[in-house]
Amino acid sequence: MRLNAFSLALKSLRHKPLSTALTLLLMAIGIAMMSFVLSASRQLEEGALRDAQGIDLVVGAKGSPLQLILSSIYHIDIPTGNIPLAAQAQLAQNRLVKKVIPLALGDSYAGFRIAGTNADYIAHYGGKLALGKLFDAPLQAVLGSQVATRTGAAVGMTFAGSHGLARGGEEHKDAPFTVVGILQPTGTVLDRLVLTPVESVWRVHEIVNGIDVNDKEEKAAMDEERELTALLVQYASPLAAVSLPRMINSRSELQAAQPAFEAAKLFRMLGVGIDVLRGIAAIVLLSAALSMFVALYNALEERKTDLAILRVLGASPHKLMLLLLAEGLLLTTLGALLGWSLGHAAVEVLGRLLSNDQNLSLSGAIIAPDEVWLAAVALAVGLLASVLPAMRAYRTDIATTLSR
């Protein structure tokens, strides 16, 4: 191996395996925490923005606006209640409204929510068929990509929905769904849903409750009482943001929640936790820098004679300084790479654990743009920790050291 500042620094680090390993570990933990927080929070934020994109307003039953947003856009909370079907037609006629997408929730399949809706919902998220066709009749289902992968369901297969939005609900065996299509992955909430016409949700509960759908009187009575869970609204013009929510909220049975506002509120709340994690990571990183400084400084004391010999052999003070800086940078780079890998492995593990809840999607393979700063931070930490020992190496007094 050719001798240069980095190969000599590497040999020196390998000569003190315990001290090197401990410093590396501390540095790696700091960087791992930082990259974990950056990557996970970024993915959650981007995922949330993607799912809410293009939806200006969510109309649902009175209750917590955040709960309405979480249940209707992200499908991670229980709905606030139901609203009359007539509200959809009334809103659709409003000149301030461009598009209204209905949502009827209540059942699930293998832990994935069954969302009664129309083709507009699939189009809104850019859903494209991988297999089969879109639903065109009640009790037909189109599966999101993740649902199909996780359940192993195929086109033509039938399944029974479970009552409720969590696993373990009573199965509606008398009203089985038939899978007619499977969607390509979109990276949105669509991947985690079982999509079916709104009528399916009504039909299932009519069958379960023993209502004869062929009896015209019974059907007419049911039609009057039809309900939806929520309406996803797209404004026709920005002016709608001013008057439409107020107009809807003035009606006693409806509430309008703005996803942008509620999501911002949610991230403000989560942000405190994220900031705490970032703070802890920064403290660990600072400890790593201190530990590296102590390790390099102590090593310098032990290696004074080595450095004096190098000077006797003709090495300039700059060369000695470079040697110490190389050692610091090598430690930092190795620690940063190790920490970055650990951080992303932790995101991947968390993503796999959370995938059982079918709510959040996290991948260790996604790198947040902010992580580029981590490299700069790591480099700065390495330089800061090694600059003082390097300066001391620069000032090595050969004569005194050799005379001791």
Partner: protein, 226 residues
């Protein structure tokens, strides 16, 4: 007449600190190819003179020419480069780098001097010093004698013009003392270098009977103790 390898005139050096007394050294000249012994009791300035000859220290007064170059006029950077290419220095402490193998310790010489590393030169030196089977050994795996031979090989690596050895026979018995001086002299001759040994050991005089002798004393008028 031989040209001079070494010429010292009215040389003095004072360590920093209010209480330190200046060390003064007698004028001295050494023709090329000849060897010299700086003899004197401990603490009389022998190591200081070697450090001055190697341009590790810079004298406050006097002239100091090595291989025809006035080294007192060299800048710090130029002095480092000159030392790496001209001087082979054997410190009293053998000071092999513990994290490097014997072979790497030898290649440290051209690395430090900014010269191209020649692996065959390292092998040749190891063979000459009977250390070829220790090339990949770490210093702690060597005996004291083997470590000294590695230090000698490292000092000779860049084919120096002047070899400076500081107390090379300290703590050696008579046989080991004679062997060490013989080895250093033969390697210096091999490299075509002059040899200057600083010692308080009178046995070195017997081992190098033809060497010029520069006697330093602890007397304040000539060379007070460092």
């Amino acid at each position: 007449m031989n040209s001079l390898m070494l010429q010292i005139s009215e040389l003095s050096y004072r360590y920093s600190g209010a209480r330190s007394t200046p060390l003064t050294f007698p004028s001295f000249a050494l023709p090329q190819g000849q060897h010299a012994i700086i003899l004197g009791p401990s603490g009389c300035g022998k190591s200081t003179l070697l450090h001055l000859l190697a341009a590790i220290l810079s004298p406050q007064q006097g002239t100091l020419q090595v291989a025809g170059i006035d080294i007192t006029s060299l800048s710090r950077h130029a002095a480092d480069a000159w030392r790496g290419r001209t001087i082979g220095f054997l410190p009293q402490k053998l000071a092999l780098v513990a994290s490097l193998t014997v072979h790497e310790n030898l290649r440290l010489a051209p690395y430090a001097a900014g010269m191209a590393a020649d692996a065959s030169r390292a092998n040749e030196l190891l063979r000459a010093l009977g250390l070829q089977d220790k090339a990949n050994a770490k210093p702690h795996q060597l005996s004291q004698g083997q470590q000294q031979r590695v230090a000698i090989a490292r000092a000779m690596f860049n084919c120096p013009k002047l070899v400076l050895a500081d107390e090379p026979t300290a703590n050696l018995d008579d046989a080991a003392c004679a062997a060490a001086i013989d080895l250093i002299e033969s390697q210096a001759a091999e490299a075509g270098a002059s040899l200057v040994i600083a010692t308080h050991d009178a046995r070195v005089l017997q081992a190098l009977p033809d060497a010029a002798v520069l006697r330093l004393s602890a007397s304040k008028e000539t060379a007070p103790c460092a």
